[in-house]
Amino acid sequence: MITLKNINKSFGELDVLNDISIQFEAGKTNLIIGQSGSGKTVLLKSIIGLLDVDTGYIYYDDRDFTNMNFKDKKEIRKEMGMVFQGGALFDSLSVEENVKFPLDMFSAMSEDEKKERVSFCLDRVDIKKAHKLYPAEISGGMQKRVAIARAIALNPRYLFCDEPNSGLDPVTAIVIDQLIQEITKEYNMTTIINTHDMNSVMEIGEKILFINKGVKAWEGCSDEIFDTENQALNNFVFASNLFKKIKSKL
C-alpha cells in the first residue's frame, strides 16, 4: 500500500501538484489519469523519489519515504519495479541480460538460479525466442514485456508503470494491461500506472485518480467513471467520438 498525504510540488512559480492525498492499495491496479501537462508524470516521479516533493508525505506501507535517509531510500528502491514509457531497456544488454541485471546487482543467487529466474520471468511475459536479441532488434510490444519481466525479476512489492501501452496497437496494449493486472494480483503488489489511455482505464482501472491542473479532481473505479458528474473528467473521458457514442447508448 502506498499513501500520499497533502503532496505539493512546484517548479519555480509554477504549481504542478496541489494538495494531493490518496491511498493506493495492494493487489489492485491503481491508475493515475489526466491530460498531458496535468502533473501525473511529476506525481509518479515524486512517488518513486526521482523528484522531491515540496511538502507532504509519501508512505510505503507504514514507512515515511519523504523523510527517509539516502540509505533507507536505496533499500526501499530494491522493492520497486518500474516500467518506463519507452521500456528503458539497456541498449548494450541482450533481452536476458536486461532481466538478469537486477539479479546481478542485488541478489545472492548462483548463476544457475539467476538463469532459472530470468527464464521464468521471460516465460511469464510470454517472451519465447528473443532471449539473445538486443532491445533494438525487438518490437515495441516485446520491449514493454521485457521491461515488465525486468521489473518483476526481484519480486517487487511495488510496481510503477509510466504509460505502459503508449505507442502500441490496441490489441498489444490490452495484452500488456492484462499482463500487468495478472502480475499485480499474483504477487499482491501495489501497482501504480500512469496513463491517459481510456482503454486501459476501462480494462484495468480498479482504482483511479484523476488529476486536473495539478489537483486531485476525482477518485473512483472504472465502473463509476461513466456516471460521474465531474465536468473535467467527463471532458477527458468522453473526448473521443467512440466514447461519446458508447455513453449515448448506455
Binding site: 526521482l50 531510500k73 518500474m82 519507452g86 541498449d91
Partner: protein, 246 residues
Amino acid sequence: MSFFENIGQYILFLKRVVSKPEKGRVFFAQIIKEIYKLGVNSVGIVVIISVFMGAVISLQTAYNLVNPLLPDYLVGYTTRESMILEFSSTIVGLILAGKVGSNIASEIGSMRVTEQIDALEIMGINSASYLIFPKIIAAVFINPFLYVLSVFVGITGGLMASYMAGTVSVPDFIYGVQVDLIPYYIIYSLIKTLVFAFIITSVPSFYGYYVSGGALEVGKASTKAVVNSSILILLANLILTQLLLK
C-alpha cells in the same frame, strides 16, 4: 547555467561518481569492458596519427637543419623529444577527446533521454558511479599504454620517413633517438596523460549525464563535451608543464 554553477555541479557530480561500487564483481567486469571500448578500440587511430606525426616531425626537422655544423642525429633526437614531451600526450589526448569524448557524451546522453539512467536510479543503483567510474578508471589505466605505443610508433614513423626520403641515415637517426634521454620527461608526460585521461572521460560524462530533452540536445552535449574537454586539456597542459618542468 553560469560558469561557476557548472563548476559546482561538476564537483558534486564527481563526488557521486567516486563512490563505493554496488558490487565488486560487476564493477570489475565494467572496467574490463570499458578498457576494451575506450582503449583497445582507440589503438588504430593512435597508431595512424602517431606514424604520420613522427614522419612529419622528422622531415620538417631534416629540411630545416641547413647549418652543416648541426649533426644529422638531431633529426632522431628532435623526433623523440617531440613525441615524448608533447605529441604523444597532448595531441593524442586531444584526438581522444574528440573520439572517446563524443562517444561517452552521446552514450550517456542517450541513456538519459531514453530513461535508462532513471531505470538504474529506481533500482537503487548510483547511476553516476555505475556508468562513469569504470570509464574513468579504464581510461586512466589504458591511456599510459596508448602513450607508450604512440611514442614508439611515432619514432618508427620518423625513422621510416627519414629512410625513405633519404634525409638522414638509419644509424644516425637511431643514435639521435638514444642520445641524452632524460627519463623524467617520460614521467612528466605520463602524469599529463593520466590527467588528460581523467578529463577525457569525466567532462563528456558530465555533459551527457545532465542532458535534458531529445536527440538534438544529445548532439549539442556531445559537441560541448569535446570542445570543453579539449580546452581543459590545453589548460591542464600549460599548468602541468609549468609545475613539472620548472
